[in-house]
Symmetry: C2
Subunit: 748 residues, 2 copies
Amino acid sequence: MAVIGKSARRIEGLEKITGAARYTEDLRLPGMLHARLLLSPHPRARVAAVGAEAARAVPGVAAVVTAAELARLGAGARGLLAGAITRYAGEPVAVVLAATEQAAADGLEALRGASRFEALPAVMTIDEAMRPDAPLVRESTEVEEGDAQAHATVAVQTQRAERPSNIANRVTFSRGNAGEALAQARVVVRRTYATSRIHQGYLEPHATVATTDPGTGELTIYTATQGTFYVRNEVASALGLSQQQVRVVPMTVGGGFGGKILLFQPLAGALTRLVGRPVRLVLTRADDFAATEPGPASRIELELGAEASGALLTLRARIIFDAGCEPGAPLSIASLMLGGYYKFPNLEIEAVEVLTNKPKTGAYRAPGVPQATFAIESAMSELAGLLGEDPIAYRLRFAAAPGDPQPHGRPWPKMGLRQVLEALDRHPLRRRPKGPDEGIGVAIGGWPGGLESASACVRANTDGTFQVVMGAVDITGTATTMALIAAEVLGVPPERVRVITADTHQAPYAGMSGGSKITYTVGSAVRLAAEDARRQILAIAASHLEARTEDLEIVEGTVRVKGSPTVTLPVAEIAAMSMRFGAKYPPVFGQGNTVITRQSPGFAGHLVRVRVDRETGAVHLLEYAIAQDVGFAINPAAVQGQMLGGVAQGIGWGLFERMAYDESGSLLTATLSDYALPRAPHVPRVDTIMVEVPSDDGPFGAKGVGEPPVIPAAAAIANAVADAVGARVTDLPITPERVLAALGAAAD
Amino acid sequence: MAVIGKSARRIEGLEKITGAARYTEDLRLPGMLHARLLLSPHPRARVAAVGAEAARAVPGVAAVVTAAELARLGAGARGLLAGAITRYAGEPVAVVLAATEQAAADGLEALRGASRFEALPAVMTIDEAMRPDAPLVRESTEVEEGDAQAHATVAVQTQRAERPSNIANRVTFSRGNAGEALAQARVVVRRTYATSRIHQGYLEPHATVATTDPGTGELTIYTATQGTFYVRNEVASALGLSQQQVRVVPMTVGGGFGGKILLFQPLAGALTRLVGRPVRLVLTRADDFAATEPGPASRIELELGAEASGALLTLRARIIFDAGCEPGAPLSIASLMLGGYYKFPNLEIEAVEVLTNKPKTGAYRAPGVPQATFAIESAMSELAGLLGEDPIAYRLRFAAAPGDPQPHGRPWPKMGLRQVLEALDRHPLRRRPKGPDEGIGVAIGGWPGGLESASACVRANTDGTFQVVMGAVDITGTATTMALIAAEVLGVPPERVRVITADTHQAPYAGMSGGSKITYTVGSAVRLAAEDARRQILAIAASHLEARTEDLEIVEGTVRVKGSPTVTLPVAEIAAMSMRFGAKYPPVFGQGNTVITRQSPGFAGHLVRVRVDRETGAVHLLEYAIAQDVGFAINPAAVQGQMLGGVAQGIGWGLFERMAYDESGSLLTATLSDYALPRAPHVPRVDTIMVEVPSDDGPFGAKGVGEPPVIPAAAAIANAVADAVGARVTDLPITPERVLAALGAAAD
């Protein structure tokens, strides 16, 4: 391989670190109006009055829009703002549109002052919500396939409630008889784990600029989204437009992590259609915390049973997701991973989602799986400890292998779980002597791998450079990966390949950048398209040089006859011959249409050494290692970046992050000072070990690497804390208070 | 055929006639500067002083740029403004950049007042230029293939001058011995014809907005051009950039006719790179007349000889083009048509281009051919008259047929010249009695047909609509034609097909919209791409319906099993199955890469009845008919529009248009009141007769239709005038003065 497999700098890196990258909020269109949202101050309230007149009196305010105005655009637009009753604190109720940002802020203040809400009884916790007399969060039983669910491409039928209920959906999986097996088990771990509602923590708040063409009625949406086609389809559907009338232009995404898929684009589109001027809707940080879709909190009741020999007997678990005000939590994928990592002869898993008066939850890196993994991997280490077994050796003994059934009965495909555990086993961190109050924790985590059809084009320019045209948004450096793939296939230096993420009017189809699937799926399409272009180049060269294509090769942008180094033809000349007046050859324009129907699961294993301060309860991370099966690292630097970023975010899950609400249902953590993201001093040096069990389907053996590294962190840290001081914390984040409480419990 | 062959409305028609269409000049970018050009007041002058300081003192003026500043961007940028010596009145010497249009105008006034030019001896006519002691217009002998030449895809080697000379290039063609044959001829026509310099007369002046990305240095050019890739390549080359760093965004073109290919885009690009802010360069009407590239004037010395029997013996001709200050006049194509329409046993043609101190000439609808045709078709009618033959019957007797050699020896391909003449022969206008001083004129004209490779994509949306993505700019309704082609192939109503002309970053390759080749070449690519998409749709349907693809058809957007009308599957569902999470099929995304290497020449024949006012010399057009071989009319309304527009522009050539210069070399006709375009009362009712001799290569038999209809008009009118009053006018336009002079000469 001339190009791939070597670390390459991210193409857009310089632009981003110098601040030159243009984000949606930098866009200015002539006549543009700035939007500010009036949010519901209560988790459940009757909207008694919207003080639109007061806001309209503010100089510069052009319009105040409520659900009633939006209804003029059709039924689909009605739900974009709250109606008579709000469902969460933070739900948008009205929009102020003004000529300047300041006027919009002033207008919003006037609007807020003149509006009245009557608080109604609300349900804020899953326990409140499940009470038979609890107020209903919603009246419908409709279930849309959630973004989060779709990420993992798992096809499982959910059982929706028969009549409106705060318990919206349920999935169950079983094998053998988990209850009987538990009764027979000699060693049992029985715990209830809890994880917090977690915000995706991207740097750039949600941002959309929408404009409508007065002549054609066409809508253009500039937006920081992970999925342009998805946004296009949803906007078209909400506003009753043809997909041809909606153009979604991808903008630089300032952090996504699943949180930048679809949110305010239909509202922005509706607003510009209503007022006939461009509309810029950029959330403030506080509004972003209050009104977007974080990952769901969970409660997982888990029982794990083994024979005295250590043989794993059974798993029984109940997963409850706090979905917020709309269903769509990742029940299936959480269940499949919870029960899928190990060979359980008996298992029984029930997962339900419960509605509460909080914002709907959405996708966050490996939706549902950090929660499930925190439970199962805490329990596995605890079980190994009870059995006196080494936690890695014990896992290796029962780790699922290709062909073993997953909870839904389908077999695991080719995967590298065993190889990841073996890599962890070999790691020197394992054998390093532990100081006082130090412990080592291990955990693994897996992601089944997303699937989606994709197309891509690779086009030559007549100066010998190339354009990759695709529809996939680059959120993690995938454009660089695509350039490397195309360069490798074409035999040109990677700097000659430019990658364009086209808008939805012009792009070949690609699914959203999420679920660890862009390299796997779009990368395959790019590889095919580049191979197509290469064939075309060689065919022209063969005709021109009077050689056979089999005898030709492309080296550094020049076609040459193997063995005759003087007979050469630059790719630039070939391209020029194919694109000009009176050309004899068709343009060099390669295309790839792909569908991969087999998943390539990705596994990561974490190893962490911690020291626990018994006085304060503080957990200090001393040393970290992650081994991950990446299939094949096309751009090792980018893969390593995913591993490091995953670990950092996983540390956030483990030690710091939670969205906290006060008793009245108001968000307490609505700023970046209150919402505790991990910072540089919290992340130790991380040793990254890439295990390469090549995928049979991904390009050059690559598989998805984005999701897996975040998954095991919280469990690994919890296991390390337990190893260090014998205190098991079962609630995330592992705060000093909880460590002290667990120490107290352990001492009792 | 369900869709094509029936007249369809132009997709963008409503937008244009309601004024909603957005043109380049409507664009406003934040921080944008408005540019105004300081033009040379003399045809040849030394630039003694540029009063930049005076202009910079005007409030709002941000910069004054001369060739010296541009030189900082590299050698390629230096030539974008005049250096020490100007070469024509109207040559841009400096640019004022200001925050508003008014400030730019004020700045220009100050600049003009403070700048000094010293007039130098200039050559304004071809006679002056050819004098041995004439000042040289340029020092170089380099020849670039001109836009105009390239239009017709004729590959002829020109002989460039060995040392700098005002006679820049020469081509010659010969067969047999023209001189000897002339000596033997019994009937000879010997004339010198002259045609004027003609402006393309588009409504929208040249307009470009250029902007540079401070982060990446990437240049974006929004411009009304007929050829985005051509502009991209030339801008990149002028500014020393990779083609990947230049994005050309096609804007609505307010009339092109060959005049909107490449002109001020490199300058606008250089300016924005220099000042780091967006630059808007929109010419005033006067500047557009003074500084753009019109069609060249010509002088054609022609001798035609026949035997007493009427048998055509020989043609001898010398074509002189007044190229303006740079070579690039359409020598070859003019020669090939001049000597190609008829079977001459002997011919000798020499064509030269002569440089003068006027703006460089460029392409104008059928470059060079109206000039050549005016000569040969005037002479053919005169010869027929001398022989007492009917002008159509005589032409039919000697009309070139497929297989006959053209002047360069290569055979004519399949074409419909004979069928066009036969259609004219049958037309009732021929047999209508003529009133006093009325005459009927006939002329034919042909265009070899352009060739260029092309790609296109046809992509399904999941609501059952489709996107055609191409790189070709729509200047004549071709987007509508592409929608019809795709709809026909796909089996969907045409309103479900949206055609996108993508920018050069994203588009499949297409050549410039000129030379009558977009339907022929890009249309073929669209047809292939639609066929590809159709195959993909049927393959999915076959798999889903468990049928064989041969048994399936698509009717009105639904796939059905032939003979089983109840077994159906909407195309929307098929598309949705191919583009979603976990899809089983690759996206429906069709691609077409084509090259056609055989030309399909197009011929038109005009028939016109005129009345000549012997007192005033005025020529009144009473009745007009045009027959044209269009191959196959995919959208008859669009084809008819081309025919009508061609006739109208041909009437301009024949009766009105010329760019006139005063003795000092200043343009006299720099406004639309002075430059006499034909107006509605000047154009009579035109009967359009479409002859369909299908092309073996174009989509559904279509061939190029844009160029041919303008070609014969001037000759047909001149022949009608001669038929009416016996006066032959050999200089265009046929003004009343010239008619009176010819009447006087005829009376002598």
